[in-house]
C-alpha cells in the first residue's frame, strides 16, 4: 500500500471532557463560544466533500477523513480530511508545518529528510550516505545498481549510471549516492527554473509519463478543488512552469510499497483575505512507488470555546501505476490505508506540537 508523504499543519486538541455537572456550561459554550465565520463553513462545503460540518463537534474529535469522489483515471486516488486546531492561528499552523520533522516517527517510514537551497549541488544529497540499512533501502540500492524497470527516471538519466564509479561500502554505495545526487540536483534545478513542466519524463522502462501531466489530471478531475486553489496553484510550479511564489524545497528517502524511494518536494503557502491561508505541498519527483503526490491545505481562522483556532481542510491526492491494478474492494482498502496514514500522521503531529495532549 502506498505511504503518503506526511506533512501537516499544527493543531491542538480542544479541551474536551467535562464533568456531568458542567453539561449545561458545555452546552452554553458550544452555542455561545464556538463561532465559525460563516464564510469558513460555507467555503469548506463549497469545494470539499464535507458539506455539513459541526465545528464544535469537529473540535472535540480526531481528524475526520473521507475518500474523495471517484476519478475516471484508475491511477488516481484522493482523500480529504478536516480538523480543528484549537488555540492556534492559521499563521502559526503554517509555521508549525514548516518545522515539523516526520523522521522522528519510525511508523511514518520517512528515513531521511533534508531541506534544499534553490541552487543545490550534489553535496546537498550527502545525507544519503547515512541511510539506514533496512530492507527497503537495500531494495532501493539493488534496483539502482541493476537499473531495474521499477526506477522512475528518464532514459538520459539512466545512461549516466556507472556501477564502478567511486568506491566505498555502507548501505548505499558511493556509485549509487553519486548517481542519485546528480539526478536529484538536476531535477531540482529544472523545477526551480521551469516548474513541473520542465521535469524529464519517466521513460526509462516503459511508456513516457510526465509528473506534470499527472498532477494536472488529478486537479482536472476535482474541479471544485482546482477552482478553490487556482490562484495559489497559478503562482507555483505545480503542474506548470516556474511560478512567482518561492518554494521551500526538500528531498526525502522514504518507503512506498515496501520499497525505498527517493523523492523531491516543494512547499508553498500564502495568506489570503480574512486571515485565511492556503498551502500546497507537492512531491514532484519519485524514484518509484508513485508518479506524483499533492497535498493542498485550506486554513480558516475560527473561534472554539472562546479560543482563536484554525479550521483545517486537507486534500491528499496521488497518482501511481500500482493503483491502476486495484479494483473493487482492493481499492476501498487502499483508500482506507491512505486515510489511516493521514490520521496517524495528524496524531503524531499533535503529540509533537502540543505537549502530548
Amino acid at each position: 500500500m502506498l505511504l503518503m508523504k506526511i506533512k501537516m499543519l499544527n493543531l491542538r486538541r480542544c479541551s474536551s471532557v467535562r464533568a456531568g455537572g458542567l453539561l449545561l456550561l458545555l452546552l452554553v459554550s458550544r452555542i455561545g463560544l464556538t463561532t465559525a465565520r460563516a464564510d469558513a463553513i460555507s467555503d469548506l462545503a463549497s469545494f470539499s466533500i464535507f458539506d455539513k460540518v459541526d465545528l464544535a463537534q469537529l473540535a472535540k474529535s480526531e481528524v475526520k477523513t473521507a475518500h474523495g469522489p471517484p476519478m475516471s483515471n484508475p491511477r488516481f486516488l484522493a482523500v480529504q480530511s478536516c480538523y480543528v486546531a484549537t488555540g492556534s492561528s492559521p499563521a502559526q499552523q503554517i509555521q508549525a508545518l514548516r518545522q515539523w520533522d516526520a523522521t522522528r516517527h519510525r511508523e511514518l517510514k520517512v528515513f531521511l529528510h533534508s531541506d534544499l537551497p534553490s541552487n543545490p549541488t550534489p553535496a546537498n544529497f550527502d545525507k544519503l550516505k547515512s541511510a539506514p540499512g533496512n530492507s527497503s533501502v537495500r531494495s532501493f540500492v539493488a534496483e539502482t545498481q541493476k537499473m531495474g524497470s521499477g526506477l522512475q527516471i528518464s532514459k538520459e538519466e539512466a545512461k549516466k549510471f556507472s556501477p564502478g564509479a567511486g568506491g566505498g561500502g555502507g548501505t548505499v554505495p558511493a556509485a549509487v549516492v553519486a548517481f542519485w545526487a546528480d539526478v536529484l540536483t538536476a531535477r531540482t534545478k529544472s523545477f526551480v527554473s521551469g516548474g513541473m513542466s520542465a521535469q524529464p519524463p519517466y521513460d526509462h522502462a516503459g511508456p513516457s509519463v510526465r509528473a506534470g501531466d499527472e498532477v494536472n489530471g488529478l486537479l482536472r478531475e476535482q474541479g471544485k478543488i482546482r477552482s478553490q486553489f487556482s490562484a495559489l496553484l497559478g503562482a507555483t510550479g505545480i503542474g506548470r512552469g516556474a511560478g512567482s511564489l518561492k518554494p521551500e524545497l526538500y528531498w526525502e528517502l522514504l518507503e512506498a510499497d515496501d520499497q525505498g524511494i527517493i523523492t523531491l518536494g516543494a512547499s508553498y503557502s500564502r495568506s489570503g483575505a480574512g486571515g485565511t491561508y492556503q498551502a500546497a505541498d507537492v512531491l514532484y519527483y519519485a524514484s518509484g512507488g508513485y508518479y506524483v503526490a499533492l497535498t493542498l491545505y485550506q486554513l480558516w481562522p475560527v473561534t472554539v470555546d472562546g479560543k482563536p483556532s484554525t479550521l483545517v481542510w486537507r486534500g491528499d491526492m496521488i497518482s501511481a501505476a500500482s493503483l491502476a491494478t486495484l479494483h473493487g474492494v482492493e481499492r476501498l482498502g487502499s483508500e482506507s490505508v491512505m486515510m489511516k496514514n493521514i490520521t496517524k500522521a495528524v496524531t503524531f503531529f499533535r503529540r509533537d506540537t502540543s505537549g502530548g495532549r
Partner: protein, 307 residues
C-alpha cells in the same frame, strides 16, 4: 461459499441485463458520484478443474470407486463505485460433473446459476464490510425446476485493517439448505515480507510468494460446500425412494500448489495442481452419506482479472 450455475447462454443474458441495470442505477441514483466514471468496472473468472479417480463409501459395504470429476466455473461481476460503496452485481455459474459408474446412488451432475448481489462498504478508515447474496437455482440437470430449487445463500463479513500489512477478517456464511446453516468464518491476511503473503481466510487460504511483479507461486487450499436439490425421481431410480427431490450438500477440499501469471493488467492465468483429501456427498435430511474413501490428484486452470 456457494457458486452460481446455469447454461452459458443464461449467464450472458443475465450479464447483459445486469449491465443495463447497473448503468441505470449509476445514472439515476448515484448522482455526482458516478458522473466522472466513464465505464462500469467488472471482474471475471473462468475456471476448470479436473479431479482424477477417487472413491467414496457409504456404510461398510456400499462404495463408488474410481470416478473422476470436472468442475467448471464462470463468474462475472460488475463493481461500480457508488456513494454507498462498491456494488457487486453479476452472475455465476458452476457445474460439477462426475464420471460415476452405473447404479451409483449419486447424481452425475450438480450445477447452479445465480445472481451475485452485494455491496462493499467502507464504515471507517479501518473497517470494510461486505454483504453479498447469491440468489439462484441449485439443482442437478435443470430439467425439472420448481420453486424449491431456488436458494439464497449469503455472507456478511468484515475486514478490520489493523495496518497495511495485517488485516483481520470476521464473517458469517448463511445457507438455510446446508446441514449447518450458519457457519462463522474468521481469518487474517498478513503480508509477512514484501514477497510473502499469508491469506488465512476461507474458502481459499494460501501462502503466496511473489517472484516478480508478474509471477507468483503459492500453496493453499480450496474449501467448497454447496447444497443442491436432486430430481423428483432420483431416489426411486436408485432404489432409495426417500432421496426423491432431496437436498444434497456436496463438500470437497483441495490442497495444492499453483502459479499466478499476470499476463496483463486485466488478465491473469492461474495453474494449480494438488490432491483432494476430502469429499463428501451428504443427503443429511435423508440420512444418506457418501464419505471420502480415497483421495485423488487434481489440476486446475483459470483465467481471471478485473477491468
Amino acid at each position: 461459499m456457494k457458486r452460481f450455475e446455469c447454461e452459458i447462454f443464461a449467464v450472458i443474458c443475465a450479464a447483459s441485463s445486469l449491465l443495463l441495470a447497473t448503468r441505470i442505477f449509476a445514472e439515476e441514483d448515484s448522482g455526482n458520484w458516478l458522473k466522472s466514471v466513464s465505464h462500469v468496472p467488472f471482474e471475471y473468472n473462468a475456471e476448470d478443474t479436473y479431479v482424477g479417480g477417487g472413491d467414496v463409501q457409504r456404510g461398510p459395504n456400499k462404495d463408488v470407486r474410481d470416478f473422476d470429476e470436472n468442475d467448471s466455473i464462470v463468474h462475472f461481476v460488475f463493481t461500480p463505485r457508488t456513494k454507498f460503496g462498491v456494488l457487486r452485481i453479476g452472475a455465476d455459474w458452476e457445474r460439477f460433473s462426475f464420471g460415476l459408474p452405473d447404479h451409483a446412488a449419486l447424481p452425475d451432475t450438480l450445477q447452479s446459476v445465480s445472481l451475485v448481489m452485494g455491496l462493499d462498504m467502507q464504515f471507517s478508515d479501518s473497517i470494510i464490510v461486505r454483504a453479498e447474496g447469491q440468489p439462484g437455482v441449485y439443482d442437478t440437470e435443470f430439467d425439472n425446476l420448481g420453486y424449491d430449487n431456488f436458494n439464497l445463500p449469503f455472507l456478511i463479513g468484515g475486514t478490520y485493517i489493523y495496518s497495511p500489512s495485517l488485516q483481520l477478517v470476521l464473517g458469517v456464511s448463511v445457507d438455510i439448505e446446508r446441514k449447518y446453516p450458519v457457519i462463522p468464518v474468521a481469518g487474517f491476511r498478513w503480508k509477512i515480507a514484501p514477497e510473502w503473503l499469508l491469506e488465512a481466510v476461507l474458502p481459499t487460504p494460501r501462502l503466496q510468494y511473489e517472484m516478480n511483479k508478474d509471477l507468483s507461486v503459492y500453496v493453499g487450499a480450496n474449501v467448497k460446500q454447496t447444497s443442491y436439490r436432486v430430481d423428483d425421481d432420483f431416489g426411486t431410480t436408485n432404489g432409495i425412494p426417500r432421496l426423491n427431490h432431496a437436498i444434497l450438500t456436496y463438500s470437497e477440499v483441495r490442497t495444492g500448489a499453483g502459479l499466478d501469471w499476470k499476463i496483463s493488467h486485466v488478465l491473469t492465468a492461474t495453474g494449480e495442481v494438488g490432491y483432494q483429501p476430502y469429499r463428501n456427498f451428504d443427503f443429511y435430511r435423508s440420512d444418506v452419506r457418501y464419505h471420502q474413501d480415497g483421495g485423488a490428484p487434481y489440476g486446475m486452470i483459470s483465467l481471471h482479472g478485473a477491468f
